[in-house]
């Protein structure tokens, strides 16, 4: 290898490394949260439309029930999301997520922190994502809130008809709540 070749290879390596650093620098907490939400949203929409909507509402083969285990039924889409969130928590994956609402059926899922309230309002009123930082139990988190939209008839009828719902006029395409993703910052 002559001098010129050596200089070229050093330059190429430096460029590659610097471009990797730029790329690595781009994976911000916000990017990570957006990517996680895309997966959560896609999985849940697929389950709602291809499994629950089809088997319960269209083909009437099986029902989806809150007490799915006892009633030998399908879990509700919201429960499916929550079960996934619990598995992620148990696996210590470095982030957590939850499905919350300003009109929750289960009151444990109403906003608790100021940031959750602000984020859910932003999602409902402006159909926009919301990003911020908050401290919970002495730890600082990057928190993102994404609008959760009714994707099928199954979502709308179940929420409107439920005995504990505080809102009975949801329509397909309405924001029903929000997905909250948290990534610890330190």
């Amino acid at each position: 290898m002559n001098k010129r070749q050596l200089i070229r290879s050093i330059c190429a390596t430096s460029i590659a490394l610097s471009s990797f650093n730029v790329f690595a620098g781009e994976i911000t907490a916000q990017k990570m949260a957006d990517a996680i939400f895309a997966v959560i949203e896609a999985d849940r929409a697929t389950y709602t439309q291809k499994v629950v909507q089809r088997l319960q509402n269209e083909e009437e083969v099986i029902t989806a029930e809150e007490r799915w285990k006892e009633e030998s039924a399908l879990p509700l889409p919201a429960q499916m999301l929550r079960m996934g969130a619990e598995r992620v928590s148990e696996s210590n994956a470095g982030f957590s997520y939850a499905l919350l609402s300003l009109w929750p059926i289960n009151k444990q899922n109403k906003p608790k922190t100021a940031l959750e309230t602000k984020g859910l309002k932003m999602a409902a009123e402006k159909l926009q994502n919301f990003y911020g930082e908050e401290t919970l139990g002495g730890k600082t988190y990057f928190t993102a809130v994404y609008p959760d939209i009714a994707v099928s008839e199954a979502c709308v009828t179940c929420h409107n008809d439920h005995i504990d719902t505080p809102k009975t006029d949801f329509k397909i395409g309405d924001v029903m709540g929000g997905v909250v993703i948290r990534i610890p910052l330190n």
Partner: protein, 457 residues
């Protein structure tokens, strides 16, 4: 002079101190590893754990084990059951950082936050060591959410027929609403029939019942581990008409043929593992029960002399599969009642033969009433549970007692309406007299659910 005297005293005391320390150390050390470990118990152990209290490492894993290790020990025995009943407050829910404030008050991720062992003075039902109103810590605003609950005190949340911290698999609104206004006694009142034999026969259509010629018992002598005299002809007779003979289980299916000795003999070293080779589900459930929990830790079997419950201690009887099941006749009628009453002598057990349930059982075994119409001890405590097309006997007799509303679907509701059943299970005096009579109080749950249903219309 005085200084010299003081020094002499100090020199004289020191060897005594060292000697005493060594003696006490040796005494404690011996008892820790070889002798009486009960010296180290921090207080009387709860009803759930006393059978294994001297197996310290079963819970403490190692001396000075971390909280995490001890939590793993709890989960190694209890996690599967909690998952099976869809635990209402699983640990995983509390891992979400939004619940950090709740954990600061009550760390629900750890079993020991509510169940502290060796604390008899504060231990309540199900080994709970928190005050009875513990729900308050997280559900203070229940009055706003459910105005109908405004008058209730927090210490009544877990009353039988209302709520449970872990298992609410029987107590949800939709189930209760579906079974409102059912009669006290259903018509017909029938228990499901077991499907094990039917399934086996369906799979083994060509297998005929075995006969005496096949085991060739006459060429063997029998050697039982307890050296008891065995009436061989009786054994053969019992076996011949048993379900084992019908299902291709020969002597050597359970007994090892000992050919190394100068005579042929059958021995059986340990009963439970032999039974397990065919009856896996039953064996697993048995090891999870108070009857089998010592065997699960490879300790000597539970025996009547170790029992805290009121049992017949005039003879020491240890618990294994054949304590309840005669291994040759496999008489399930005997196993369903006589085996239980052979040991248990508490008021509930002693009242059984005066109950309507027993009358029905007696009629059934005499052939005067249809199959499935009688109620034995096993009907309630070792229930036949239907899952899909399969009906099997659950061999963990504690399972549906914690809480007792677990009996509703698999036991009571085969014959009784839901409201009658819930009221009966909440009536402690009625349980004690073995259900002689009917529940005296109506359970409030049903009125609340009816009101909720009305408010919806």
């Amino acid at each position: 002079m005085i200084k010299e005297k003081e020094q002499r005293i100090k020199v004289g005391v020191m060897p005594i101190g060292i000697a005493l320390t060594l003696i006490i150390g040796a005494y404690l050390g011996y008892n820790l590893f070889e002798g009486d470990k009960s010296l180290f118990l921090g207080g009387e152990t709860s009803h759930g754990h006393y059978q294994i209290e001297l197996e310290c490492q079963a819970c403490h894993t190692t001396p000075f084990a971390s909280q995490e290790k001890m939590q793993q020990a709890c989960e190694s025995c209890h996690a599967e059951e909690l998952d099976r009943v869809n635990d209402s407050h699983p640990k995983k829910v509390f891992l979400d950082p939004r619940n950090a404030d709740l954990l600061a008050t009550l760390d629900a991720r750890l079993c020991v936050s509510c169940h502290r062992e060796h604390k008899p003075e504060i231990t309540r039902d199900f080994g709970v060591t928190l005050a009875a109103d513990f729900c308050f810590h997280c559900h203070q605003d229940i009055k706003e959410e459910r105005p109908s609950h405004a008058e209730f005190e927090f210490k009544t949340c877990a009353t039988s027929g209302c709520h449970n911290f872990h298992d609410n698999s029987m107590l949800y609104e939709k189930f209760i609403a579906k079974h409102l206004d059912e009669p006290a006694i259903k018509d017909p009142a029938r228990l499901p029939e077991k499907t094990g034999l039917k399934r086996w026969l369906k799979k083994n259509k060509k297998k005929l019942p075995l006969d005496v010629a096949e085991p060739q018992m006459d060429s063997f002598s029998f050697e039982a581990t307890n050296q008891a005299t065995v009436d061989l002809s009786r054994v053969v007779e019992d076996w011949k008409s048993s379900i084992h003979a019908r299902t291709d289980a020969n002597c050597t299916s359970c007994h090892t043929q000992n050919v190394s000795q100068n005579h042929n003999s059958f021995t059986i070293a340990s009963v439970a593992p032999v039974c397990e080779s065919c009856h896996k589900r039953q064996h697993k459930a048995f090891l999870e029960s108070k009857h089998g929990m010592r065997l699960a830790l490879e300790l000597s079997p539970m025996s009547t002399d170790k029992a805290r419950l009121e049992v017949d201690k005039s003879h020491s009887k240890s618990l294994d599969c054949n304590s309840c099941h005669n291994p040759h006749s496999l008489n399930v009628v005997e196993a369903a009642m006589d085996s239980c009453l052979g040991c248990h002598q508490d008021t509930h057990s002693q009242n059984y033969k005066n109950s309507k349930h027993y009358q029905l059982w007696a009629q059934e075994i005499l052939g005067e009433a249809p199959s499935g119409s009688g109620v034995s001890c096993a009907t309630c405590h070792l229930p036949k549970v239907k899952k899909g097309r399969r009906v099997t006997v659950i061999h963990n007799q504690n399972l549906n007692l914690r809480p007792n509303t677990k009996m509703l679907r698999s036991v009571c509701m085969n014959c009784h309406g839901l409201e009658f059943s819930v009221s009966a299970l909440a009536d402690e005096a009625l349980i004690e007299n073995n259900f002689i009579g009917i529940p005296t109080k109506k359970h409030q749950t049903f009125e609340l659910v009816k009101q909720r249903m009305k408010s919806r219309q």
